[in-house]
Structure formats: C-alpha cells, structure tokens
C-alpha cells in the first residue's frame, strides 16, 4: 500500500474539518496510507512572509525538516490545502536554487537542532496524487453511486496549479485534473471559465467589498452555468465561498444559493459512504437540494429538527443558547 507523509495544516484541523474527515474516510478505499508529520507547525499562509522573510521560510523549513525525518520508504510529502502545498513546494524550490537562502534557513533551523537538505522530500498536492499516481481507473473501480445528473463546477482556486515552473502538473489557467476526476465519478462537469480565479483570499479580513465582489463573480458565474454545486480543493476557497455567501448576497441584494463541497466529499458519496462520515451537513449553504439529485438523503439541519413549529424565539434561545466554551463533563452536569 503506497504511503505518503501528510501535512494537514491548521485549516483542516478546524474550519476545513470536513475536508480532513472526508479524506480520512476515503483514503483506505483509494489504497493509500497517510502518516502525519509529527508536531508540524503552521505554514504561515500568506501572512508571515509579509512581515519577515527568512523567518517565514524557516517556519516552513521546520515542517520540511520534520517531514524529512519521517522519510521511510516514501519521500512524498502530501498537502491538501493549497496554501500549505504552495508554501512547502516554494520553500523547497527556493532553497534548492538560492544557496544564500538555504544557508540562512539551515542556520535558523540549527537553533532548534534541525537541518533540512532541499529536495529530500517531494511535495505533492492531494489532487495530483489521486489523478496522476493512484489513477482514475482505481477511482472508477470504487464508484458504487455515480454522481449521475449532478452538475458540478470544478473550482481549483489560484494556488495549486501555480506558480512552480519546475514541478507543474497541470495547466496554469485551464487545469483539467479535477474535471477529469469528477467525470470519473459520473458527474456532469461544466466547463467553468472562472475555475482558477481568486476567491478573495484574506480580503474578507482586510477589505470586505473587494472580497464580496470576487465571491460574487464565482458564485454568479457558476449559477449562470446552472451548476448544482461548486467543488473545491482548498480550505480558504471553501470558507470564502460558503461562509460569506449569505453576506455577499445581502451586500449585492442577490439571492444565489450554491453549496460548496470538497472534492473528497463527492468522492466519498460516489464511493457509497454516508454523508455524515464525510462531514457533509457542516456547510453554511444547504447542500441537501443538490445531493437529493443523486439520491442522497440528509437529515434536516439541527434547528429545523430541534423545534417543531410553531415555536417562540425565546423558547429556542433557552434551548440552544450561545455556543460557549465547554469542559469535558459539562453535558452531564447540565443535564
């Protein structure tokens, strides 16, 4: 069974937990083993490098050094988050090509008793591994519930097909790996012209109108193509398009409702797994109408099933309350 060293990244621990859950649910069916990088740290996203350069590369260097220690039969380091993937790949490539940077990063790593020789691990994105190593034939052989009739807009976001000129594995402006994967699952794939356009990245925290406009273009574009769902492979893209879709609609006085799912979630559904095991139901924009098209039934969201109509606002508030920090054993104590 091929084994890969796996760098999950901060987003997959929480905001993109459904991405991690669905990957964990399908990886054995794909016949791969994943070994997490031990005690990995944040990759710095696009923020650390805006403040310190050498420290930003050293931050990523620590992850590379830790991964290199786990090289044992495999030297493939896999990341599923686009920003993590780009940062790892870029740092490794820059260290290979710039002896000064290599020496500086290693001087910093030495302060923590670590060392990294650039090129010791090969950094790959999950999608690249699935389509180019595991292969679409293996994927097809696992499909028990084809996504027949589901119109999917494949959305790559900006970072995964760019910018490394050496290890490029798909076209930078019109990649097809995700399109082909979705076709292998039986979905109806639309030729989405905005597939590599930006989701707004960190602009949701810096300048909301800029972010809303970028989100609007993508959602509205996919709606015009009559997509049932946008499928993505990046935690930031999913977060921006899903969690901010309601506010974007309010801002532009529009009413677009387009669910955003991870490609691993659709793979799991096609493989016959239960939606709950794939983290489905934790998205902001309800995916049930889209999934009903492929015969997937989901329980209604919490608030609908918790309180039968008619109900008063107050009663519901008392019942659910605001989410508060919880300690183990709280639930029993409050029962």
């Amino acid at each position: 069974m091929p084994k890969y060293i796996f760098y999950p990244g901060c987003s997959m621990q929480r905001s993109a937990r459904p991405y991690l859950d669905s990957l964990m649910a399908i990886h054995e069916l794909l016949g791969i083993e994943l070994e997490e990088v031990q005690d990995w740290n944040c990759c710095g996203a696009t923020e650390y490098i805006a403040v310190h350069h050498i420290a930003a590369y050293s931050l990523i260097g620590r992850n590379l050094a830790l991964a290199a220690r786990q090289v044992n039969g495999t030297h493939t380091l896999m990341a599923a988050c686009s920003a993590c993937y780009l940062n790892l790949a870029k740092t490794d490539s820059y260290m290979q090509n710039d002896p000064t940077l290599n020496q500086q990063v290693n001087t910093a790593l030495a302060a923590g008793g670590l060392q990294y020789t650039p090129g010791s691990v090969q950094i790959r994105h999950l999608l690249d591994l699935i389509v180019n190593d595991i292969g679409l034939d293996t994927v097809k052989s696992r499909v028990v519930r084809p996504l027949q009739g589901l119109r999917v807009a494949p959305y790559y976001g900006c970072m995964i097909a760019r910018p490394d000129r050496v290890h490029r594995w798909d076209n930078v402006e019109h990649p097809l790996a995700l399109d082909r994967l979705m076709q292998a699952l039986g979905a109806e794939v639309i030729d989405f012209p905005l597939k590599t356009h930006c989701c707004g990245g960190h602009m949701t925290q810096i300048n909301l109108p800029v972010a809303y406009e970028l989100i609007r273009r993508l959602i509205h574009g996919a709606v015009q193509y009559r997509a049932d769902v946008i499928v993505t492979l990046c935690p930031m893209c999913q977060l921006n398009l899903d969690a901010y879709q309601g506010e974007m609609n309010r801002y532009f006085h529009t009413g677009d409702q387009l669910p955003i799912l991870y490609f691993t979630q659709l793979m799991g559904l096609a493989f016959g797994l239960e939606p709950e095991a794939l983290g489905i139901g934790r998205e902001f924009v309800d995916a049930r109408p889209a999934l009903a098209r492929i015969g997937v039934e989901l329980p209604p969201p919490e608030e609908e099933k918790a309180a039968p109509a008619p109900r008063t606002r107050r009663a519901r508030k008392e019942k659910e309350g605001l989410p508060m920090p919880r300690m183990p054993g709280d639930e029993e104590a409050n029962r």
Partner: protein, 192 residues
Amino acid sequence: MAAALTSHGKSAPASFLEEVLAATPGDSRLGMCIQCGTCGGSCPAAADMDHTPRQIFAMIRADMRDAVLGSNTPWHCVSCYYCTVRCPQEVHIPDVMYTLKSMAIREKLYDDSTAPDFSQTFIGYIENYGRSFEFGLATRHHLKHRLTQIPSMVPVGLGMLTKGRMDLTPHKIEKVEQLQAILARAIELEVA
C-alpha cells in the same frame, strides 16, 4: 535608511530598486520588467489598488520610495499568482509585494494599519502556539479595526462555532520552544 536592508547577504543597495532586489530572497527578476501591464490586467484586485503592479514597478525604478511604501497595492495583493504565470519576463511579483509589505511595516509608512495589523496578529499566534488560531484572530481583528462590521459578521462567526468549524481555544504544538528558537534566530539573520 537606504542601506538598512542588506539582510539577504547581498551588497549594500544604491537605489530603491536595488534595495528591493536585495531584500527579496531568490531572484525576483524585478529589473527585467518591460512595463507591459499584463500583471495589472490579470490582477483580481487591481481595480481597488492605488497603483497597478506595473505602476508600482515603474515607481520603484524612479526611486519613489515613500509613495511605493505608502501605497495600498502590496496589501491588496491576494497572492493568487495570476500575474506571475502570465508575466512574459517571469518576474516573481508576489515576492516583490511581500518585500514591500515588510518594508512598509518596518518603517510604518502605510497609513491604514488594518492589513499590516492582520498579518502581525496572525503571526503572533503562530509564534506563541505554532498554529494559527482563527477565533482569536477574527475576534481581535474585528474588535480593533472593524467594530462597525461586527453585526454583519455575527452569522458567519456563530455558524463557524455551531458547525464545529472554529475552536474557542488555540492548539499548541509540543515543541513550541524549538520553533521559537528557530524563528528568533531567523529574525536575527534578517536584521544582521
């Protein structure tokens, strides 16, 4: 001031262009820009920038140091790399933008502090815990800079919490001291 940034082991710069080149790890190829404007035409955020990337590069060459570092352009760069893959001269444009951001922070030249503060709050969590902390970051950032936008962000924040997509406490890596030692040494190298 102009000689302050020799962190990348290159000789002391004579012009702002050389200073930017020296402060950018690797070969950014900034000197190769032919002013074609493909970058600005490809940029998803260009419409909201004070200057397009092409203009910024011309201003760097013209030694317009304060105007460049006071521009919102680097802060509006979303790191999508569209410009980079389309640039006929293969200029590493986002890397140049990162350099300009760090210079503007160091010299406090960008007058709207929202974006630099966001970066600094973000890295503060990394330095203390080794991981990013979305709840702390979003809360602190909104309380400090975006009080008026808090009501419109309540649905997003509450949704994240109730859907189990945001933690209320940060996660600390085991060897956070090791990470801190590495980062401290790296920052020493930068200012050396």
